[in-house]
């Protein structure tokens, strides 16, 4: 509904008052003196009377700040430094007001504080999305970026009041950043990536918040980013802005790989689910992560016996609930039944069509294929504990029946997605890496069709020829494939299908042993 008569003028007056008070030397430490005086003015002006008025006040203030920025940005001949100084003069003051209101509202009642913060962030998001829609390519991210980051920094200052509500503050910001994810506000995508990769943001969510309670939030934001990039990476037609965004994403992932490898380890499955299958290097980067406590044996060690590695029987943590991803329930029921009793016998013949029930563009349900592969593998591993996982123990079994069926019956595209799902499990030494490495090599050896062997080789090779890093499990699998005579790798025609391919194999082989 329309704002009450006079509220706009009143708000404008108050905002100007506050900006002046904020910048005056008498503002006091953290502007507290100014704040006390200003709250009185808000009272006398009746702004704090109802929740609705407070909401309107913040929305109007936000809009006024934004308009001021658009005017400044529109001024010709101004240096960007001057423009920013002019914008930040008001924006920073407004942020300080919000921070002080959040800190001091409701006295010791943290719920009041967080409710106010959520309200304000919600208003910001609303104003931004409307502006984004209305102005279209004229949209400017500067005011919003500045408000969000300065408010985040203000509310994460090391103060007792703030420490008490820090996790809720982080939750509120992650929530609003999810709402403003690049797919929803592409005009804000660069600022968004700046926000979620700011050192204070990463520090709070991934390092300082106890019990890794912030990890799930951060993973969600990365999934948002990958989903946005997905369609563009999928076609590898990178326009300049997309290249910039992609490179920025690689930088952030490199920071995560270096500082929080366990985070990438635990959420790799969810990330691979939304990273396009042909986005090799970025996915390699994630799959290369390994726990910092782990010492990785050199994959090129001669006579490396993987089965004897201490970690090889430990299951990695996978935080995604893959069972929930296996739909429909009837399919899951049949799958479990087949794994247990190899019935219904129609299961295998219907498998392919079950995997194609995806209406979203691609003919295969990639999420289902990924979930199926990992689920079957994780069902198989416990049953092999006594005998130990190896090429000779993983079959015969209903699990490998399923894998062999997929290798034989899927078409090239489907088989590529299936083999990709397996290769995504070739990571650091753990029971999944070991099982799927054996499974892949078993499929290669058992294949009576060279097309399958060639495609297995391609899936591995495409991951090896890109720049580093390369996952440990990928390296040991490929080394085993080309070294172990039982695979007769070098006898295959496709190794010599073209001089440059032959040369490529020889180069890779030479680097392997």
């Amino acid at each position: 509904f329309d704002d009450p008569q006079g509220l706009h003028e009143k708000t404008e007056y108050l905002l100007r008052e506050w900006v002046n008070m904020y910048h005056s030397p008498q503002a006091g430490r953290d502007s507290f003196k100014a704040f006390n005086a200003f709250v009185q003015q808000m009272h006398t002006q009746g702004i704090l009377k109802t929740d609705d008025l407070i909401t309107r006040f913040f929305r109007l203030c936000t809009e006024m700040c934004v308009d001021l920025c658009y005017r400044a940005l529109g001024e010709a001949g101004q240096s960007t430094t001057m423009i920013r100084a002019k914008c930040f003069y008001t924006l920073d003051a407004f942020v300080r007001l919000i921070a002080l209101l959040v800190k001091h509202s409701g006295d010791t009642n943290t719920v009041t504080k967080i409710n106010l913060l959520n309200k304000v962030l919600g208003i910001m998001a609303g104003v931004l999305l409307q502006d984004h829609e209305v102005r279209y390519t004229e949209f400017q991210q500067l005011p919003y970026h500045r408000i969000f980051i300065m408010l985040f920094i203000e509310l994460n200052a090391p103060e007792p009041i703030l420490e008490a509500i820090n996790f809720q503050v982080l939750t509120a910001f992650c929530h609003v950043f999810h709402i403003l994810r690049p797919a929803k506000a592409p005009g804000f995508a660069f600022a968004w990536l700046e926000l979620i990769s700011h050192r204070v943001f990463i520090g709070r969510l991934l390092a300082l918040t106890p019990l890794q309670k912030g990890w799930g939030f951060y993973a969600q934001l990365l999934v948002d980013l990958f989903k946005f990039l997905g369609p563009f990476l999928r076609n590898a037609d990178m326009t300049k802005p997309m290249q910039l965004q992609y490179k920025g994403t690689l930088r952030v992932l490199l920071v995560l790989l270096h500082d929080f490898p366990e985070f990438l380890c635990e959420y790799h499955y969810a990330f691979c689910d939304v990273i396009p299958p042909n986005c090799i290097q970025m996915r390699n980067l994630i799959l290369s992560a390994f726990p910092r406590t782990m010492r990785l044996p050199d994959p090129f060690t001669v006579n490396l016996v993987v089965e004897h590695l201490p970690d090889i029987n430990k299951a990695p943590r996978i935080l995604t609930n893959i069972v929930a991803l296996i739909q429909p329930a009837s399919f899951k029921k049949d799958l479990d039944s087949y794994l247990k009793t190899r019935s219904p016998i129609t299961f295998l013949s219907e498998l392919k069509s079950n995997l194609q029930a995806n209406p979203q563009g691609s003919r295969y349900d990639i999420v289902l294929i990924n979930a199926l592969v990992l689920y079957v593998g994780t069902q198989a591993i416990p049953q092999l504990q006594n005998k130990g996982v190896s090429m000779s123990t993983i079959a015969p079994s209903p699990h490998m029946d399923i894998f062999q069926n997929l290798a034989v019956n899927l078409d090239t595209e489907g088989r590529y997605l299936f083999l990709t799902a397996i290769a995504n499990q070739l990571r650091y030494p753990n029971s999944h890496t070991h099982y799927f490495s054996c499974a892949l090599l078993y499929l290669f050896r058992q294949a009576n069709d060279q097309t399958i062997q060639e495609q297995i080789t391609k899936v591995l090779l495409e991951r090896l020829i890109v720049n580093r890093p390369h996952p440990w499990g990928l390296l040991i699998t490929f080394i085993e494939l080309i070294k172990n005579p039982t695979f007769k790798f070098w006898d295959h025609e496709f190794v010599r299908c073209a001089p440059e391919i032959e040369k490529l194999f020889e180069n890779v082989a030479r680097s392997c042993y």
Binding site: F190, E194, A207, G248, T249, L250, L254, H258, V466
Partner: protein, 47 residues
């Protein structure tokens, strides 16, 4: 073959964590020490 990730301006061999000096996903270099806000007593902020 993708990008040589060692050319993205991050010191991947650093024994320190990278995120505390991370400047921007679009910047080629890390933050300089003086770029980073540090919480000092308010009295110090005399400018």
């Amino acid at each position: 073959t993708g990008i040589d990730l060692t050319t993205l301006g991050l010191n991947l061999n650093s024994p320190e964590n990278l995120y505390s000096m991370f400047q921007s996903p679009f910047a080629e270099t890390a933050c300089r020490p003086q770029d980073i806000d540090y919480h000092v007593p308010a009295e110090y902020l005399t400018n």
